[in-house]
């Protein structure tokens, strides 16, 4: 479908880069090209993909959020405590509690941004510090290891024994990730609210004149990210089988870079779920490949950073994604000539 290639240039080129990296890794390492490793990649990437699709919605709405990963840590503690109160709970109550706390923390951001007209990066850097400060203060940095059994026991959805006797497994976070991804895709492409988020992100004052409720847009965008962050937090606790207060600290920038890599524009109005997922996968695959190649983990961040830079600058049009000032809509030189209509 040539029109798909034309309208999804970012996604197609990302897919191309991923295929190229996979091809190289398959040849240069012994273990990369295996079902077990592919499933591991999915298991490891799930939490980040859930974060990413949530952040995508905020970026589309023209905002940015620095606080969501730390908010997810707050969710982990809050959920662990609440589950203690109700005597253990289960997956349903766990997801409900985590999702609710997440939405609440997202709504705090939306409130600050909408009510006090604070730009989102400043508001969320503030809440990032407040959330993390409160967390360290009240937990005194102490981790929680005695989580309920249902939360810490691995849930294997699909498994298959490999020729060498190892098991390739798909675990619960992957399924949750797929559900979150599809829900987000559905939300932003098939609902009127999703369509309005794109309009709002691109042109908030224009959107207001079109009859879009811009206050609601902020709460919906940050609420959605909060929900995803809550779910991702619970999944991370499940995957790690413990709750550590600073486990997710710094994760926000990894996710942000991956989402922007996936074609979302800092400045709003642009981004797709497919691109976002591919962006996270590209980073994960690179890290996984470096690991298998025996590169020091200390070099990971450096190399991943370089790959993101190269990927984004390869196409000069992409500069507009990073710095909205350079985006075509902001420049004055590209207004269409007022041609005569014959």
């Amino acid at each position: 479908m040539p029109s798909f290639v034309r309208t999804h240039a970012t996604e197609v080129s990302l897919l191309g880069v991923i295929i190229a990296i996979c091809a190289v890794l398959s040849v240069t390492t012994a273990n990369f090209f295996s079902l077990g490793n592919a499933f591991d990649l999915l298991n490891i990437s799930s939490v980040n993909i859930i974060f990413a699709v949530g952040l995508l919605v905020v970026l589309i709405a023209g905002g940015i959020d620095i606080s969501f990963a730390v908010a997810a840590s707050v969710v982990q503690y809050g959920t662990a405590i609440a589950l203690g109160w109700i005597g253990g709970g289960g997956w349903v109550s766990g997801l409900l509690i985590a999702g609710s706390i997440g939405v609440l923390l997202g709504a705090v951001n939306a409130f600050l941004i909408h009510r006090f007209r604070i730009i989102s990066i400043v508001a969320t850097i503030a809440t990032f510090n407040v959330y993390f400060g409160l967390l360290m203060f009240f937990t005194k940095g102490v981790s929680i290891y005695n989580l309920p059994d249902w939360l810490t026991s691995r849930v294997i959805i699909y498994e298959r024994e490999m020729a060498d006797g190892s098991w390739a497994e798909i675990t619960l976070p992957v399924v949750v990730m797929v559900v979150c991804t599809l829900a987000t895709w559905f939300f932003i492409t098939r609902t009127t609210t999703g369509r309005q988020l794109y309009a709002f992100g691109d042109n908030p004052e224009g959107a207001r004149r079109f009859g879009i409720n811009i206050g609601a847009m902020q709460f919906i965008a940050f609420g959605w990210l909060g929900l995803m962050a809550g779910i991702a937090g619970l999944m991370q606790a499940h995957y790690a089988q413990e709750v550590v207060p600073n486990a997710l600290y710094g994760r926000e920038l990894d996710v942000l870079a991956a989402v922007v890599l996936g074609g979302a524009r800092l400045g709003g109005g642009k981004g797709s779920v497919l691109g976002c997922v591919l962006g996270v996968l590209l980073v994960s695959i690179t890290q996984n490949g470096l690991n298998l190649m025996g590169v020091s983990p200390f070099a990971f961040k450096m190399i991943v950073g370089a790959i993101i830079l190269v990927a984004i600058t390869l196409s000069s049009a992409r500069i507009g994604n990073l710095v909205p000032v350079f985006a075509t809509r902001k420049s004055t030189g590209d207004r269409p000539a007022e041609r005569g209509e014959s």
């Binding site: 042109n203 009859g211 207004r335 005569g340 209509e341």
Partner: protein, 237 residues
């Protein structure tokens, strides 16, 4: 259709009374800063009047936001098409349906098919020249962009259409096309308020012309009995 009595917003406009009937085009002219855009935004529910009343079809109305106004059948074509009237980087089709998304739903969800057919109908009806519906609106000429902006509001089924400086950035040849559309809409029964600081535009395209200066209506003219020079003399004096 629209009946405004004693509408005021201190510092912007004072004691504005006017009526617009179905099928009538009311022209409002005046220099920049005469309060015409603020008046339009108030009729569209985006500014709140300090005093006075607005009635639509005999019913007094208080808008808490422009969503109420749109619901009541008021549409407002913004004065700045490039930055406020359209979302320049986004597709033509998405721009056209953004204020009437409820009309392209199927089973509660957005339907590409319905969108395409709705957009296709309006594009044909207003004679917009486009390549693909998915092209960015910024690829169109000023006149064609303005037609899409008008179509966006017509798609909301308005009873009153307020056009604020609809020909700014539209070249001379294409302006006539825009006013042909305005005339056709009035004929079909729409009430229209046409705001422009170019006196000839309202003189030749409106049934009545109001002159606003410093927030007040200072003159009312009938183009059939007044000469263009009279009005221009008063406005540009």
């Amino acid at each position: 259709m629209l009946d405004v009595k004693g509408l005021s917003r201190p510092g912007q406009f004072e004691d504005i009374s006017l009526t617009v009937r179905r099928g009538e085009t009311l022209g409002i002219t005046g220099l920049l800063g005469s309060g015409r855009t603020e008046l339009a935004l108030t009729l569209f529910g985006m500014l709140k009047p300090a005093s006075g009343s607005i009635s639509i079809e005999g019913k007094p109305i208080r808008f808490s936001s422009n969503r109420d106004a749109i619901e009541a059948g008021v549409a407002y074509l913004s004065e700045d098409r490039l930055s406020l009237g359209l979302i320049q980087p986004q597709p033509i089709a998405d721009n056209l349906v953004i204020s009437s998304l409820d009309k392209v739903l199927s089973g509660g969800l957005l339907s590409e098919e319905r969108k395409r057919s709705l957009v296709g109908r309006w594009i044909a009806d207003l004679g917009v020249k486009i390549g693909l519906q998915q092209d960015a609106i910024s690829t169109l000429s000023g006149g064609n962009q303005q037609r899409v902006a008008i179509a966006k509001w017509l798609a909301t089924d308005p009873k009153l259409l307020i056009l604020d400086a609809p020909t700014v950035g539209v070249d001379v040849g294409a302006r006539a096309g825009i006013f042909d559309i305005v005339a056709r809409l009035a004929e079909s029964g729409l009430a229209i308020i046409l705001i422009s600081d170019e006196v000839p535009e309202v003189y030749f395209n409106a049934d009545r012309v109001l002159h606003m200066a410093q927030g007040r209506i200072v003159g009312s003219y009938d183009p059939r009995t007044s000469s263009l020079d009279d009005i221009e003399g008063a406005v540009y004096a």
